[in-house]
Symmetry: C2
Subunit: 681 residues, 2 copies
C-alpha cells in the first residue's frame, strides 16, 4: 500500500499542472504560490466592503498573502483617492484604505507585489493615485479569431463558444490586467466588423464583461461607422441623418441594458479605407458628437482616433494635425481624441505627434502599440517602457516649458471630464500570452505607466523581473541591462538617425528600403520616407520641404528645423541630409549610419551573451525559449543591417567603413525575400 | 568620317575580348600584354634549338618579352640541369642556357615572370633545377564530363568533340601548366572507366597529347584494373593470369604507337569499391608489377595509390601502412607508391602519412589535393601552400633527424629512378578555371612547390599576387596577409585541435558531426572520428587505443603518443581528451575548442574587411566575385561553429564561454539541412 501511495504521490508531482506551469510563462508576473491551510490559519484578512471587487481583493489576499493581518477599509470621503489607495502599517498589521472597491483591489495587488519583491512592510505608509482615469487596452482582434498585427497566436476571445462556453483564461486575463491597474479594454479591432453590435454578439460581450467586472474592468467596443446602414437597415450612415442618430441611440440603449457599465466606443473613421462621416461630407466632429450624444445619458465615452491620412501630395506626417486642429472646440465633452504617439505609425522611433497640445479645447489621449508590428513581432526582445516614456516625457511647449504629453493628457495642464491612456495589446492565445516571454514586460510596463507615468523604465523592469524570474540581485541587474539596451538596439539595427517606415510591404517584419509597387500609394512606399538619392537621404520636413516642423510649438520648430540643432536621433526624419554631412560625432552621415547599424548588430550579440550567462539562474524552459528568439533577432539584425547598408550604398556611393563587420548577404538575394506573413496568427 | 572612325574605335574597345578578359580571371597569372610590332622590332630573340618546345619558348618571348635581347642556348653536357636552366646577364642581353628544350621553355616563363614582377634583370645570374622529375596534376574527370570533387564547372575535356573538335582552352591549359613547371597530367578520374583504353578514346587522348607536347607536358591515364575483363574479353583480370598480362602488354603497345611519349598509369586498386589484384588473392605488388612490366619497354611508369582502407575494426588511419609496409622491396623499379599527404583523406589538417619514410626500398610520391573537397569547395578562400609545405617540411625521422618528406621523395635521401609529386586538380570549364579566383593560387602554388619545395608560402603568394592582381606593394602585402591567414582560419572554423572528417555525408561541404547512417560503414561516419562522449572527445591512437602512433618513427611516436607533448593542433587526432583537460593555453579542452571555432569566424570576418579595403585597387569584376564568395565563407564559418559547438556541447555539458559570440542557429534546424550536392559540376 505504501508503495502504491508513493507512486500516486510521484505521479501527482510529475503531472501537476502547477509544476509544469512554473516554466511556461502562463503565470505572467503573478507567480505566487497559494498559501497552505496552516499559513492561512495564522493570518487575518478582513474587509469592510462586500462588493464583488472588494471581495476579489480579499480573495486574492486569502489565496496568496503570507504576511501579517490586513484590513480592507473603504472611506467614501477620500474623493481625492479616486481609484487609488493608501497602504499603512498599523503597528500589528496592514491597512488598505480606499475610496472605492477598485482601490482595495489595486492595493491588494500592490501588497502581493511588495511581497513578491521581498520588501519589508513594517512601518510602510504609501499612497498611490492613478495618473489616468481610464487605462485601456485596445485589442485588434477580429471576430473570425485572427488578430491584426497579433503575434501571439489567435484571439483569446472565442466568439463561437461565447456566451455559453467560458474559457478560464478570460478571468486570468482580467486578473493580470487588474494586477497592474488596467481598468478597461476594447475587445475588437478598430477595423471593426459591424457584426459586433448584433444582439447575439452583445450577449457574448456581456459574458466577458461579467467576468471582467469583479476585476474592475470595463468593456469598450470598436464600432464600424457604417453599422446603421449595414446591420440596421438605415438608408445611410450619415451622422446628420436623424434615422442614423436614432439607430445609434437605440443601439446604445440596448448595449447598456445588456452591459450596464459599458465603457463606450473606439472609432477609426475615414482612415485606411474605413467608413466615416466624411463619406457624407461631414466632419470628424459631426461623427464623434453624434455617437457621444447617444452615449452621454449612460456616461459613456467616444474615443475617436486621429490616425487619419490620405494619399495626397501632403506629407503624411502633417495630415492628422491639419484635419483635427480646425475642429478644436467642436467636440463634445465625452469625446476624447486618441492620438498615436508619433505622427506616422508606431515606428521604432518617431518624434511625438504634434497634435499633442495643439488641441486646446478637446480632450487628448495617447495610443501606444504594445504589439510589435514594427519591432520584430514576437521574435525580437524590445522593452518598450523607454519608448512609452520618451513620448510621455516629451515637452511639447504648448503651454510653455514643461508641457509634457503626460501633463497634457493626465489632467494636469488641461482639465478633462475623463483622462485616458491606451495601447494596442500584444496578447493572444499562446501559453505565455504574448509570444515572447519578454513581451509580457511590455504589457506590464504599459499598465504600470498608465497608473504612474513618473515611474522610471528601470524601476518597472526591476519589478517585473523580480516577479517574473527571480529577485536575486545579480539576475535582476543583468536582465534589466538586457531590457534597457534593447530599444536602442532595435532602433540601431532597423532605423537609426530618424529613418522610418522602410519595412517590407504590409507585414512590416523585415527590411525593404527598395520597396515599390506599381500603382501603390506613395505613402505606403519606403522611398516616400527615406528619399535616398545621390545627394543624401531623409525627409525634408523643414520650411523648404513639407514644413511639418511648423506644426511644433516654438522652440521645437526651430530646433527640429535646423540641421545643426536637430537631434541625431531624428535627423533623417526632419531633414534630407547629404551623405557627407558632418555629424556631431565627426563622422559623415553615411559613416554614422553604417556605425549605427553595426552597433545594433553588436548590441543584439551582447544581449545574447548576457542572456546565456543566466543559463543556470532561469528555468530551462523559459531560458531556451528566450535564447532561441534571441538567435532569430541576431540573424534579423544582420539582415536589416546588410539590406539597408547595401541598398543605401548604391546611393551614397561610398564604402562601408572598413573597420565595420562586412555584409554577408547579397543585395539582390535580399530583394528576393518574400515572407508569407499577411496573416499573423 | 572622323566621327565614324571614332565610333568604330570605341566599339572595338568596348567589345574587345582582351579588354573584357582582363577582369574575368581567364588569363590566370599570365596577364601579359602582347608586344607591339614596334616593340618587337627593337628586340632580338634567338634560339639554337628548333625543337617544338624550344620554338614555343621563343614564341612566348616573341609575343610578350619587352626587355633586352634573349638568346636560348642548349648545352647537352649540362646533364645536372635536367629540365632546369640558367639565366644570365651577358652584358648587353640575357641568355637562357639549358640541357633540354624544356629547360628553355621554363627559363622563358621565368623571364616573363620576372618582367611581370617588375624586377631589374641587369647582372642577373640564376640557376634553377626542379626538385622533382615528374610534376603531375591528377584530374578526377569522368568521361561523361562530370568531375568528381570538381567545383569549377564541368570537365575541360570535351570527349564527345574530340579528336576532331579542339577547344582553344586545351592549349591555354597546357601553357598555364608549363608556365609553372608542371610537366605531366593524368587526364581521367582514378575511379576510372575502362572505356578510356578503347581505341576511339585513345585517339582522343592523342589529340590532347599532341597539343600538350610543345608545352613539355606528358599525358598519363588512370586505368581500371578490370579493363582486361570488361573491355578486353579476357576471362578475368587476375594479374597472374598470362592472358591478362598479355592483354595489358598489347594495350600498352597500342598506346605508345598512338602517343609515343605517353607517361604511364595511375591506379586506384582495391579501394572504395574499385577492382584490384586482391580480388584474385594477389597483392598490390603483384598488380603494380604486372602493369610495370608492360610499361617498362617504353620507360613508362606506374603510380600506384596507397589510399586503401576497408571497413574492418582496424583504425582507418593505420591501414595503408599495414598494407604496404610488408610489400616494401617487392615493387618494380618503375612503380611509384602515390601517398596522400595525410593518413585519412585531405582533411583541413592531418599529421603526415606515416607511410612516408616507412617504405625503404620503394619509391614514394606525395598526392596533394588542390580541389577543395574538404575545404569549402570553390566557395572558401583557402591558400593551400602552407598546407603543402606543412607536409613537405614534416620530419619523419625515418633516416634520422631531417628526414623530411620533401627529402624522402625528391631523391635526396632515397635515390629513385624517377621522382614525382602529384596533386588533384581544381580545374574546370569555368571562365576563371577554378571557380574561385583565389583557387588559381593553389594551382600556381602546387606547380611552384613541385619545382622548388624550398620556396616559402609567402614568396609564392607574392609572385602570384603580383602577376594576377598588381605588383603595388601595399596591395601585395594586404592580399598576402589574407592568403596566409586563410588556412588556419578554415582549420579553426571547421576542425580545430586535430578534429577530422566530421563533414556532411558524401558531399563533404558542411558540418555533420552528428552524422550517422543505418548500415553505413563506420569509417564513413563522423562519430568514428570524433568519438565524443560525456568524458571527452577525440580518437585515441595511443598505445591504449588504436596505437596508430606506433607507425611513426621515434621520437614522433612518443611525442604524438603523450598528451602533454602532442601539439595542440593534432591533439584530438591522437588522443581521446577529457573536456576538462587543461590545455597549454590554460583553458580546458572544451573552452579551447570554443575559442578556436570562434577565432575561425572572426578570422573570416577579418578576411572580408581586408578584401573590401582593396575595392578600388582591384578591378570591379574580380573584386565583386571574391567579395561575394567571402560572404558565403563568413556565413559558412558561423554555420560550422554553431553546428559543432552546439552538437559537442550536448556531450561536454558545459556552456560555451560567455565572452564568445553566441550561436545563431538551432542544432535541430542544422540537423535538417540536406544539401543536394552529390554531383559537383
Amino acid at each position: 500500500m505504501l508503495s502504491n501511495k508513493l507512486q500516486l504521490f510521484l505521479c501527482c508531482i510529475l503531472l501537476s499542472p502547477l509544476v509544469l506551469a512554473a516554466a511556461d510563462g502562463s503565470q505572467l508576473w503573478l507567480r505566487y504560490d497559494k498559501v497552505t491551510a496552516a499559513e492561512a490559519g495564522r493570518r487575518q484578512i478582513r474587509s469592510t466592503s462586500s462588493g464583488p471587487v472588494a471581495l476579489m481583493a480579499k480573495a486574492e489576499l486569502d489565496d496568496y498573502w503570507r504576511g501579517p493581518a490586513v484590513e480592507l477599509v473603504i472611506d467614501k470621503k477620500k474623493r481625492e483617492y479616486g481609484e487609488g489607495y493608501q497602504i499603512k502599517w498599523t503597528g500589528s498589521g496592514l491597512q488598505i484604505l480606499a475610496q472605492q472597491d477598485r482601490g482595495l483591489l489595486y492595493g491588494a495587488y500592490h501588497l502581493l507585489r511588495l511581497q513578491g519583491e521581498g520588501k519589508d512592510l513594517r512601518g510602510v505608509d504609501l499612497t498611490e493615485i492613478p495618473a489616468y482615469d481610464i487605462r485601456i487596452l485596445n485589442h485588434w482582434d477580429n471576430l473570425d479569431g485572427t488578430i491584426e498585427r497579433g503575434y501571439a497566436g489567435r484571439s483569446l476571445w472565442k466568439w463561437l463558444e461565447l456566451p455559453t462556453q467560458i474559457s478560464p483564461r478570460y478571468a486570468a486575463y482580467a486578473r493580470a490586467n487588474a494586477s497592474i491597474g488596467i481598468n478597461a479594454v476594447v475587445l475588437n479591432n478598430v477595423n471593426a466588423s459591424p457584426d459586433i453590435l448584433r444582439p447575439d454578439y452583445l450577449l457574448k460581450v456581456k459574458a466577458l464583461a461579467d467576468i471582467f467586472r469583479p476585476y474592475g474592468i470595463q468593456v469598450y467596443l470598436s464600432i464600424n461607422f457604417s453599422s446603421p446602414k449595414i446591420i440596421g437597415g438605415v438608408k445611410d450612415s450619415d451622422p446628420l441623418n436623424p434615422d442614423v442618430s436614432t439607430w445609434w441611440k437605440n443601439k446604445v440603449k440596448e448595449i447598456y441594458r445588456t452591459i450596464p457599465d459599458f465603457g463606450g466606443f473606439l472609432v477609426k473613421a475615414n482612415s485606411e479605407g474605413q467608413p466615416g462621416p466624411q463619406d457624407y461630407g461631414r466632419t470628424h466632429a459631426d461623427g464623434a458628437n453624434m455617437l457621444a450624444d447617444a452615449l452621454k445619458p449612460y456616461d459613456g465615452l467616444v474615443m475617436w482616433r486621429a490616425f487619419v491620412y490620405n494619399p495626397t501630395t501632403e506629407d503624411r506626417a502633417k495630415q492628422a494635425y491639419q484635419e483635427f486642429v480646425p475642429l478644436d472646440g467642436k467636440f463634445s465633452e465625452n469625446v476624447i481624441i486618441q492620438i498615436k504617439n508619433g505622427p506616422i505609425d508606431f515606428q521604432p522611433r518617431e518624434p511625438f505627434n504634434p497634435l499633442f497640445g495643439a488641441l486646446r479645447k478637446s480632450s487628448e489621449m495617447v495610443e501606444f502599440q504594445i504589439t510589435q508590428e514594427y519591432l520584430g513581432f514576437s521574435n525580437h526582445l524590445v522593452y518598450l517602457a523607454p519608448l512609452f516614456k520618451e513620448t510621455l516625457d516629451s515637452d511639447t511647449y504648448s503651454d510653455g516649458k514643461g508641457s509634457t504629453i503626460a501633463k497634457l493628457t493626465d489632467g494636469t495642464l488641461r482639465p478633462a471630464k475623463k483622462t485616458a491612456i491606451s495601447a494596442v495589446a500584444n496578447i493572444g492565445e499562446d501559453t505565455n500570452w504574448t509570444g515572447h516571454h519578454f513581451a509580457q514586460a511590455n504589457w506590464y510596463a504599459f499598465g504600470r505607466l498608465a497608473w504612474d507615468h513618473q515611474l522610471s523604465s528601470e524601476q518597472i523592469a526591476e519589478e517585473w523581473i523580480s516577479l517574473t524570474f527571480s529577485r536575486e540581485e545579480q539576475l535582476v541587474h543583468a536582465v534589466k541591462e538586457i531590457m534597457m539596451t534593447s530599444r536602442e538596439a532595435v532602433v540601431n539595427y532597423m532605423m537609426p538617425l530618424g529613418l522610418h517606415h522602410i519595412f517590407a510591404f504590409d507585414h512590416h517584419y523585415g527590411p525593404e528600403p527598395w520597396g515599390d509597387r506599381k500603382g501603390g500609394r506613395a505613402d505606403w512606399m519606403p522611398w516616400y520616407y527615406h528619399n535616398a538619392d545621390t545627394v543624401g537621404m531623409g525627409f525634408d520636413r523643414t520650411a523648404s520641404g513639407s514644413d511639418a516642423v511648423s506644426q511644433y510649438f516654438p522652440p521645437l520648430d526651430e530646433i527640429y528645423g535646423d540641421i545643426t540643432s536637430c537631434p541625431d536621433s531624428l535627423l533623417l526624419w526632419f531633414h534630407h541630409v547629404s551623405w557627407t554631412h558632418r555629424m556631431k560625432s565627426g563622422r559623415t552621415m553615411w559613416e554614422e549610419l553604417c556605425y549605427r547599424y553595426d552597433a545594433g548588430v553588436q548590441q543584439v550579440r551582447e544581449l545574447q551573451k548576457a542572456w546565456d550567462r543566466l543559463e543556470h539562474q532561469v528555468d530551462s524552459q523559459r531560458f531556451a525559449a528566450v535564447q532561441s528568439k534571441l538567435k532569430i533577432q541576431a540573424k534579423d539584425a544582420v539582415w536589416w543591417k546588410d539590406a539597408c547598408l547595401l541598398y543605401f550604398k548604391t546611393f551614397a556611393r561610398q564604402p562601408i567603413p572598413y573597420d565595420i563587420e562586412r555584409p554577408v548577404h547579397e543585395l539582390e538575394d535580399l530583394k528576393k525575400i518574400k515572407l508569407n506573413l499577411i496573416h499573423h496568427n
